[in-house]
């Protein structure tokens, strides 16, 4: 049923906190650190209830977009709930002064978060060094074009949260009346795939915003478009790029040309 939960989920009022651009997260720990920073709380004293709620909201959002949520995120969610429930229980009184810390159900998580933060910082320091092939060159250095620019990760992974965020923004613009519409025609993902490719081929590239320019905005359209775009990224027929950090998202043709046949199976 079109429950209130769904409506609330995209109530812009509710989500004002998310209108700040979300960076892409490396995983559940990264997302948690982001939430801790956003709430300006001490890592050593996490307000578990607040953080857990926001964490679950984020997962909800991913689910809403039919994204496959990586298992790690779910494991962390259950860990958070586990901790939350343990916080409600009275602490067992067996402490010999030194035992107090062991009693905090958050201890293990906090330790992991702090540890992860250290390596995140170390990673930043590494990345800030003068790199051979980027800042310094040596005579023997084969220029990286021989190494054929390989992304260290699927580029999709890197842009995923940016994409999710972009779609979330579009979704939040879907007028409320639409939730009560009975939409007779269904928008197919395959159709959207074709449409996106047409748009790109017309002018070489297309802005993300323009994907929704030619049809009345509906929830179904947004989600179908999102799935189409994910599929195109997976097939490498479309590249998603940002001209500048926080800039608009641009879609271009990828390395693989799409054959005429789209064998996308509708879920």
């Amino acid at each position: 049923m079109p429950g209130s939960a769904n409506q609330l989920l995209f109530d812009p009022q509710q989500y004002s906190a998310y209108t700040v651009r979300v960076e892409s997260f490396e995983g559940p720990l990264d997302l948690l650190l982001h939430l801790i920073k956003k709430n300006e709380v001490e890592i050593c004293d996490i307000p578990i209830a607040t953080i857990t709620r926001q964490y679950l909201e984020y997962l909800e959002l991913m689910k809403e977009l039919n994204l496959e949520i990586a298992g790690e995120f779910l494991v962390m969610a259950s860990t958070l709930l586990q901790i939350k429930s343990r916080m409600l229980l009275p602490a067992t009184e067996e402490d010999e002064a030194g035992e107090v810390e062991e009693l905090d159900p958050r201890a293990e998580l906090i330790k992991r978060l702090m540890e992860y933060q250290r390596y995140k910082d170390a990673a930043a320091v590494l990345g800030a060094r003068e790199l051979l092939g980027r800042d310094l060159f040596a005579r023997s250095m084969p220029f990286p074009d021989e190494l054929e620019e390989k992304e260290d990760d699927q580029p999709l992974e890197l842009a995923l949260f940016d994409l999710v965020e972009a779609f979330r923004q579009v979704l939040s613009k879907v007028p409320f009346e639409h939730f009560h519409d009975v939409i007779s025609e269904t928008i197919s993902v395959a159709e959207r795939i074709g449409r996106i490719l047409d748009m790109i081929d017309q002018s070489g590239s297309v802005l993300f915003e323009d994907l929704f320019a030619d049809e009345p905005l509906s929830r179904e359209l947004v989600i179908a478009t999102f799935l189409a775009l994910l599929e195109l990224c997976r097939l490498k027929s479309v590249r998603v790029a940002q001209g500048a950090p926080f800039g608009s998202i641009l879609l271009m043709r990828g390395t693989e040309q799409m054959s005429g046949e789209i064998d996308y199976v509708e879920p």
Binding site: Y116, Y119, A123, G127, E130, F137, S140, P144, K150
Partner: protein
């Protein structure tokens, strides 16, 4: 041969070599000279490059000597490149940092610390020769352990692993670090990751 020759010969060797040349290698090639003479000549070479604002500097990387361009010239040097400069994703940098500081380290340990699957990243880092397989860990399952390579030191412009700032220094600064020599890598055994994530947070670790 004079010390003047020594310097010129060194310059020639370093120009031709396809990677950093270690002192041992230089000593064996230039056996006509004493090691002390080589050190003095290298020092002079280095100073000349600096003093005369030459386009190259004599860098000490990965336990050897190599001519490299100046970082402030990077933008112009890159025009020579036909492709975008190599870059590292956040996940690659995080995994590299963990491997650099905690080696020998298993994939499970990297994944525990980062909280995500690292199979892809580890594979890429192996392909890029930034990490290598050091061997197997002596625990059930004999998991593979990884460490960083010479290429890692070369790429990140490090003389050796000790040239990395300690994690403590990084924490103290939490901004751009000052690189200092350090005694040894901060490998804190108490931090080694349990292979089974305790279900109940706060449970004493294995």
């Amino acid at each position: 041969m004079s010390s003047l020759d020594c310097k010129a010969l060194l310059e020639g060797l370093l120009f031709v070599a396809d990677g950093p040349l270690s002192m041992d290698r230089l000593v064996s090639i230039l056996h006509e000279f004493e090691k002390q003479e080589l050190i003095a000549a290298l020092d002079e070479l280095r100073l000349e490059c600096e003093r005369n604002a030459r386009g190259i500097v004599l860098a000490e990387v990965a336990g050897g000597y190599q001519f490299r361009t100046r970082p402030e010239h990077a933008e112009v040097m890159r025009r020579l490149q036909r492709s975008r400069p190599s870059k590292f994703s956040q996940s690659a940098l995080e995994s590299l940092a963990i491997i650099a500081y905690r080696q020998p380290v298993t994939r499970a340990e990297i994944e525990y610390l980062r909280g995500v699957d690292c199979g892809g990243v580890v594979k890429t880092l192996l392909e890029r020769k930034l990490i290598r397989i050091l061997g197997k860990k002596d625990v059930p399952g004999r998991p593979i352990v990884y460490g960083t390579t010479r290429e890692f030191l070369e790429t990140f412009n490090l003389k050796n692993l000790n040239a990395l700032p300690t994690l403590r220094e990084i924490q103290d600064l939490a901004e751009l670090p000052v690189y200092e020599e350090q005694g040894e890598l901060p490998l804190d055994p108490s931090l080694s990751a349990p292979f089974v994530q305790p279900l109940l947070a706060g449970e004493p670790e294995s």
